[in-house]
């Protein structure tokens, strides 16, 4: 056995051993690239976050433009911080640690660069499409179909590179961090492909192949697992590598880390339906989602404790080492958000919290605390190793840590308060049994102080991010002229497994052989088989949960009076999607008295069978719109879209005056109707004359607006289409009520 000699470049040649050892070096250039991308997109994503926080505090920050309005910037913010900031951070740590844990350079430098540039190109294309209203209207899966295909291609490149590296590794045992990366890579691929299945209706327009309940189910199966397999498991992999590195000791319990891994793989995939409690989703699915979410509590906390206890014997270093401080707060934030997640998934708690800002506070504990601080700790640890010089300012690291921590506290405390306030005000009745706050706007205005406090908290965190970026740039500026590239020596893997320790005589008899579990050790050295087992766990769970809603008819009872949207209403719905209205307005009334009193009859599964995609929403910054049709005259909508403050004095909704100026593209409607028909929506004679039908309806609405005393030239403008859609919402079910009442008489 050779003695540890540090980098072999410095070691004298040893003929006897050298003949048996491979000599190679790690590709740190790709790690540096991803590191810079992390910082750049982190700054951009968080800046957009501050802009949208300001927009909620005062609508003047929407600047009365379509492309800077909240509905369009909010998806840009979420996509930028999840896929650009956290994504690049994961790739940074993944490329650094994978090579070292497997004692092999990445399989292909070309694929590494393809992954890097491809991913950055995808981010840029997201930034160029989302503000202009190209969106699929599914949270965290907003990007349109050409970009989705690009994501799949780049991801496959990443996967090939990763599996290739595993195949040519020189370390027999695959360390647990690699398991977490591997599970993330395969699961994200499955989630991405199945949730984004859609039929294009233009270069940047598509309709989900799923509708209503099924679409909602697929979306939140994806949505929750995007949190699980993009923001949790990859970062746990990073934790299991970088935490021992920073603490200079092995992980507290390697066995616990294995248990942590398998528990998450088995349980996470079931948890999605907790995003749809009390909606039109079948109750059994919602209950399954809740049970698995509550079960997740245990492994998540096991993992958190495992991370924190890795510091055993090194706690005294935490007070002086800012890197450890970042890790400790990051892992604690993981503990807090994984305590809160299961709690929020309990139905009775969720009844209060769903649609409120509480959920926003919850995700920011995770994103700012867990993802952010683990990223900062990891990058500070990497800086001297990647740039081969001392970190420029240790003091700046301390300032970053404290300003970031205070920023998180201010943000989440303010938004927790906002969430609870909203939830309680929505359900409050006065002593006469009527809603205590019947005007929705009252429940919004109450939140303004909290919204301003969020701006302060977010800005502090952002300032910390700028300090971080500055410190990195200054460290980079002090790098050597050329980086030293250490040469590593390691023995290649032998074809057959040679146990590191004497395993004793082979067991005799069936039970003895089973109990000695050597058979399983052989399995886990086969990465391909390991991957298949992980995929199996994920896919089997997904199928058992999702397929029944597709195939068992009683899960989505149809309603005879529910008809497809007219061509003009469909065009209006597309405008609703493009503007991102679903980011603030739900279309799903839950069966609670305080909801039906406020918004009308609760929503039924059969009402959204033609909704490709579903637009139930997940948040109520404005009122629910499921029963909006017929509530106000057309002219009210014209005035409201032109400037919401015309009709609701202190509304925070952006103005959509461009609806009154922009023309409807009538010819485009035919193609969209055609795609709907392909998806099985029964369109009747609109199949051949959609533009004509749309023009006729537009003329009627234009005339009605003029008759009510409004502008006379609106019949070709977008405002007419969106009003057609608004006035249709929730009307079909009223038709049933009218028909049955008439029948009864």
């Amino acid at each position: 056995m050779p003695s540890p000699t540090g980098h072999a470049a410095a070691a004298p040649p040893r003929a006897s051993i050298g003949a048996l050892l491979d000599r190679f070096s790690y590709d740190d250039d790709i790690v540096r690239k991803f590191l810079f991308a992390t910082v750049l997109w982190g700054v951009v994503g968080m800046l957009v976050g501050i802009v949208i926080a300001l927009q909620l505090a005062n609508p003047v920050f929407n600047f009365n433009t379509s492309w800077l309005s909240f509905g369009r910037l909010r998806p840009l913010h979420t996509n930028a911080v999840i896929f650009a900031f956290a994504g690049n951070a994961f790739f940074t740590g993944c490329y650094y640690s994978t090579q070292r844990l497997l004692k092999a350079r990445m399989f292909s430098d070309g694929l590494s660069r393809f992954h890097f540039w491809g991913w950055q190109a995808i981010i840029v294309s997201a930034a160029l499409t989302l503000p202009f209203g190209f969106t699929q209207a599914k949270e965290y899966a907003e990007l349109e179909w050409p970009i989705d295909i690009a994501i799949a291609v780049v991801w496959v490149g990443f996967a090939v590179n990763f599996f290739g590296t595993i195949a040519k590794r020189r370390e027999r045992h695959i360390y647990v961090a690699i398991w977490f990366y591997l599970a993330s890579i395969v699961t994200v691929a499955i989630l991405h492909i199945f949730n984004n299945l859609s039929i294009p209706a233009g270069a940047f327009k598509s309709y989900s192949i799923y509708a209503g309940v099924q679409d909602a189910f697929m979306q939140w199966w994806y949505g929750h697992n995007a949190v699980a397999f993009f923001l949790t498991t990859p970062f746990l992999g990073l934790m299991y590598y970088f935490m021992p590195k920073a603490a200079e000791g092995p992980v507290f319990s390697y066995k616990l880390s294995i248990l942590h891994f398998w528990s998450l793989v088995f349980m996470y995939i079931w948890a999605g339906p907790h995003h749809l409690h009390y909606t039109a989703l079948p109750e059994w699915a919602s209950t399954v989602g809740m049970l698995f979410s509550v079960m997740l509590w245990a492994p998540s906390w096991g993992g958190m404790i495992n991370g924190l206890l890795t510091l055993r014997g090194a706690w005294h270093k935490v007070s002086t080492d800012p890197i450890l401080k970042f890790f400790v707060v990051g892992i604690t934030a993981y503990g807090m958000s994984t305590f809160e997640g299961p709690m929020l998934s309990i139905k009775s708690v969720n009844a209060l919290t769903h649609y409120t800002d509480w959920i926003i506070a919850h995700v920011h504990t995770g994103a700012l605390g867990w993802n952010g601080f683990i990223t900062f700790g990891m990058i500070y640890w990497l800086l001297p190793r990647l740039f081969q010089t001392e970190i420029f300012s240790k003091k700046a690291m301390e300032v970053h840590f404290w300003i970031g921590s205070i920023g998180i506290v201010l943000y989440v405390v303010a938004i927790y308060s906002a969430g609870v306030t909203q939830g309680l005000m929505w359900r409050a009745f006065d002593e006469t049994g009527r809603l205590a706050y019947p005007d929705f706007i009252e429940t919004v205005l109450k939140l303004m102080p909290m919204y301003w406090l969020r701006v302060v908290g977010g800005t502090l965190y952002f300032v910390g991010m700028l300090i971080f970026g500055w410190n990195i740039l200054m460290t980079w500026a002090r790098r050597p002229k050329t980086y030293a590239v250490p040469v590593i020596e390691a023995a290649p893997l032998q074809g057959a497994y040679v146990p590191a320790h004497d395993e004793g005589p082979a067991p005799v008899g069936l039970w003895a052989r089973f109990a000695a579990v050597r058979w399983h050790r052989r399995w886990e050295r086969a990465p391909l088989l390991f991957t298949v087992l992980t995929v199996l766990a994920v896919v089997v769970a997904s199928l058992f949960e999702i397929i029944p809603t597709f195939l068992i008819k009683s899960n989505v009872p149809t309603i005879a009076s529910v008809k497809p949207y007219t061509p003009l209403e469909l065009a209006g719905r597309d405008i609703y999607i493009a503007e991102g209205c679903f980011n603030c307005h739900s279309q799903m009334i839950r069966p609670f008295r305080y909801e039906t009193e406020r918004f009308g009859e609760y929503s039924k599964p059969g009402e959204s069978v033609y909704d490709h995609p579903f637009l139930w929403g997940s948040r109520r910054l404005g009122p629910d719109l499921a029963r909006e049709g017929g509530k106000y005259p057309d002219l009210w909508h014209v005035r409201h879209f032109e400037n919401p403050r015309n009709v609701i004095a202190k509304s925070i909704m952006p103005a959509y005056s461009h609806f009154l100026r922009a023309d409807i593209n009538f010819e485009q409607i035919q193609r969209r109707v055609d795609v709907m028909v392909m998806l099985g929506v029964p369109y009747g004679d609109a199949v051949t004359r959609a533009p004509q039908l749309a023009r006729e309806q537009a003329r009627r609405i234009g005339a009605a607006i003029a008759e009510q005393g409004g502008p006379k030239d609106l019949e070709g403008k977008q405002i007419v289409a969106i009003i057609a859609y608004m006035q249709r919402l929730g009307q079909d079910i009223k038709a049933t009520a009218t028909a049955s009442a008439a029948g009864g008489n």
Partner: protein, 63 residues
């Protein structure tokens, strides 16, 4: 007759529970395997991997 009609009448509601039991069984097998006393040394070695990754390989694979 559509596929959903056939599936609707097939009475598959038990399958989810069966899957749950299978998952639990596999999970328990993972726990038993992980905590098997015969694996203690291997686990300790595995935990050290991140800490000696800048060094030449050193765990008896040179034969």
């Amino acid at each position: 007759m559509k596929l959903s009609d056939i599936m609707g009448h097939a009475g598959l509601s038990m399958y989810a529970q069966v899957a749950l039991v299978l998952f639990l069984a596999v999970f328990i097998a993972v726990i038993i395997r992980t905590w098997a006393p015969s694996r203690r040394r291997e686990m300790q070695d595995a935990a050290m991997i991140p800490l000696n990754d800048e060094l030449p390989a050193s765990r008896g694979q040179e034969s």
